[in-house]
């Protein structure tokens, strides 16, 4: 017991000496930085910018998401992935997203803000660019573009659904959901094309056994559920890997870590 106490006292003394030596070295450090981490050298902490979620933030984020969709449809058209009726449908959806982006930008300015004119940078880097890279290597790029479009349109509808109750100006709600419901119709139209055999999913609904579907749910339905979803939207894309699987990307609505805050304009 005595030995243990002694040892501990010596350890504390040695530790104190180490701390003192460190402080001395730090004091002698001067103003030059070698870039190598060492005691006493720490970067100045930077304050996180104040980022309230205002109506303007929500509208700017909606515009940024519209620009993500525009980017995808333009990329698909540029690569020539789609043809025939699928290309015509995509061209209509592209035109709608351009209208939606103009509308949300106009609402942003009417609310006293500055419109966001770029794709959402975070969604672009974590969803859009990886998805397009997978499609470029896919065995059937046209099918993958339609799958991505279905997921993106579902996500867009879900985003307006999520943002509408957050808007403090009641007059903006109808405008927001007027766009959101059209995004939902885009997804439903694609769902009816991709899965014409079953337009309305019975999965998750309370229906008699005779009306239920057998097996796993399809990834595509015109009407997948009784309510709009707030869950991540999965989409499977790209080539088959060595293990026989394909990559699934889970799209999530832009929230606090991916909104188009006004301070982004200053960066």
């Amino acid at each position: 017991m005595e030995m243990q106490n002694l040892s501990r006292r010596r350890f504390l003394l040695a530790g104190g000496a180490s701390i003192s030596l460190g402080a001395l070295l730090a004091a002698c450090g001067g103003g030059q930085s070698s870039g190598v981490a060492r005691i006493g050298l720490a970067p100045d902490p930077s304050e996180l910018p104040d980022a309230p979620v205002t109506d303007i933030t929500l509208l700017r984020t909606a515009t940024s998401l519209e620009n993500n969709a525009i980017f995808v449809y333009e990329a698909a058209a540029g690569a020539g992935y789609l043809s025939g009726d699928a290309a015509k449908l995509a061209a209509r959806f592209l035109a709608d997203h351009r209208d939606h982006a103009a509308a949300t930008a106009s609402l942003t300015e009417a609310a006293g803000g500055r419109a966001f004119t770029e794709p959402n940078p975070r969604l672009q880097s974590i969803y859009v660019e990886p998805a397009l890279a997978l499609i470029a290597e896919a065995a059937d790029p046209a099918a993958d573009v339609l799958a991505l479009a279905y997921a993106l349109e579902t996500l867009a509808g879900a985003t307006y659904q999520m943002y509408t109750p957050m808007l403090t100006d009641k007059d903006l709600r109808r405008a927001a959901m007027g766009i959101g419901e059209q995004e939902a119709r885009h997804a439903a139209t694609l769902g009816s094309v991709l899965n014409p055999a079953r337009l309305v999913s019975s999965h998750g609904s309370s229906v008699a056994a005779e009306y239920r579907e057998d097996g796993d749910p399809s990834p595509f339905y015109a009407a997948p559920s009784a309510f709009g979803t707030q869950a991540p939207v999965p989409v499977t894309l790209g080539p088959v890997d060595a293990a026989g699987g394909r990559t699934t990307v889970n799209l999530e609505t832009p929230y606090l870590n991916s909104m188009a805050y006004e301070y982004l304009d200053e960066e």
């Binding site: 109750p165 439903a188 014409p196 309305v200 229906v207 309510f227």
Partner: protein
């Protein structure tokens, strides 16, 4: 300066949401009679599931406003559509297409009037689902998603939102 809206429905909200519930029950009953009559052809199960969707919306409104929920259907809507919902698959699809557009327009108009954000969140969620119903019914009617794309995507100008006053 904009004040923070309440979460829970106000008394006026409950009246509006109660009206929406009556419209949902009417839609549910219409799809139920259509499913029972076998209309919808190969999509008869989809028709039955649409009844479940509207039932779910009705129950969600009931959960939100409690005893203020009327739990009765809007007979004027049911009576206006019943014959078309049971006549043939084409008649059903076109009638349901019109009804779902009307439901969407009705719920969009509610969003401007509601005060409580819980009600706004619920109605927004229902709008998304019922907008998708419209496109599903356009497909069931055999309309082309290219040549007839407006039937899938747009609310026709002839559609009028339901309201407790009319």
């Amino acid at each position: 300066m904009t004040s923070t809206p309440p979460r829970r429905p106000t008394a006026a909200d409950s009246t509006l949401l109660g009206f929406a519930q009556q419209a949902e029950i009417a839609a549910r009953d219409l799809y139920r009679v259509a499913a029972a009559a076998g209309t919808g052809g190969e999509q008869n199960s989809s028709v039955a599931t649409l009844a479940a969707h509207h039932d779910a919306a009705s129950q969600a409104i009931s959960a939100l406003i409690g005893r203020d929920a009327p739990q009765t259907r809007l007979d004027s809507i049911f009576d206006a559509y019943e014959d078309r919902f049971t006549a043939s698959t084409d008649d059903l699809a076109l009638a349901a297409h019109e009804l779902e557009n009307t439901m969407v327009a009705t719920h969009l108009s509610l969003l401007e009037a509601l005060e409580g954000t819980d009600g706004v969140a619920l109605v927004s969620s229902v709008v998304i689902a019922e907008a998708r119903h419209v496109s599903a019914m356009a497909a069931l009617a055999g309309l082309s998603p290219v040549a007839d794309i407006e039937a899938y995507l747009d609310i026709p100008s002839s559609i009028t939102a339901l309201s407790p006053e009319n």
